[in-house]
């Protein structure tokens, strides 16, 4: 326990921000790169988690518990979003037999 507390003592806040920025960018690249709707959803989860980690780091840095409560709310929101999103994907798959997002290009116009 004490060693865990000592483990973060020398990590600057900037490195947490950098790690979150890298993982957020990987999520953005995943959304742009893939055509499988489920993988796009997973990239969105990756972005949400990067934000969660950054909020927790800020909360510890400032000594304020509100940031961690906010992470809790983001997790509840992610659960709701995943349930509805996967239901939509299942419905799309049932109608089109594919989860390629390019079959949904009629939404563009």
């Amino acid at each position: 326990m004490e060693s865990f507390l000592n483990a973060i003592k020398t990590v600057p806040l900037n490195h947490y921000i950098m790690l979150s920025a890298i993982i957020f960018s990987i999520g953005v690249i995943g959304v742009l790169l893939r055509r499988n709707a489920i993988v796009i959803f997973m990239s969105i989860e990756l972005m949400l988690n990067a934000v969660n980690l950054l909020l927790t780091a800020f909360s510890v840095y400032r000594g304020d518990a509100s940031g961690q409560v906010f992470v809790f709310f983001i997790m509840a929101l992610a659960a709701a979003e995943v349930a509805v999103g996967l239901a939509i994907i299942v419905m799309i798959y049932r109608n089109t037999n594919s989860i390629d997002i390019n079959v949904l290009n009629r939404l563009k116009w």
């Binding site: 865990f4 507390l5 483990a7 973060i8 003592k9 020398t10 990590v11 600057p12 900037n14 490195h15 921000i17 920025a21 890298i22 993982i23 960018s25 990987i26 999520g27 953005v28 690249i29 995943g30 742009l32 790169l33 893939r34 055509r35 499988n36 489920i38 997973m42 990239s43 990756l46 988690n49 969660n52 980690l53 927790t56 780091a57 909360s59 510890v60 840095y61 000594g63 518990a65 509100s66 961690q68 409560v69 809790f72 709310f73 997790m75 509840a76 659960a79 709701a80 979003e81 995943v82 349930a83 509805v84 996967l86 239901a87 299942v90 419905m91 049932r94 109608n95 989860i99 390629d100």
Partner: protein, 167 residues
Amino acid sequence: MGTFYFIAFLSVCFSLLVITARNPVHSILYLILTFFTFTIHYILLNAQFLAVVNFIVYMGAILVLFLYTLMLMNLNKDNEPVKPAIVKIAAVFGGGCLLVTLIASLKTLGTSQPVVLNNPNLGLVKPLGKVLFNEFLLPFEVSSLLLLSAMVGAVLLATKDKQTKTI
């Protein structure tokens, strides 16, 4: 100190594997590993409640939901058509531009203070519960409403509709 950098390296590696794996099932398994490294980050920050919730809710519930959905669909490996190379290059370039912008704007801030845990029981269940049920009581109740409506919506969307089946 070294622990953080090692775990951060693992997080970046696994999240890169998530978006590059060809098979979606492998992608989900790498995502589980990524979330496991995030749980270790939370433990390092002494946010024990969040570590447990991340472990149970994300790795236990959300990703299992992903796996179930993927297995419902019975996808073949070559089901996903690849994007043309120019689109891929543009996607990586766009994401790289975002990353460079974020890092550069961070660099102008200069060096920061190290993250020091002033209050050792900040992330435990008891102080978090006190904050959650005093200041954030109304958002907590509203989020229960959100979860209820999401559940009803998911059931409504995913059930087979007999009338529209002929379309």
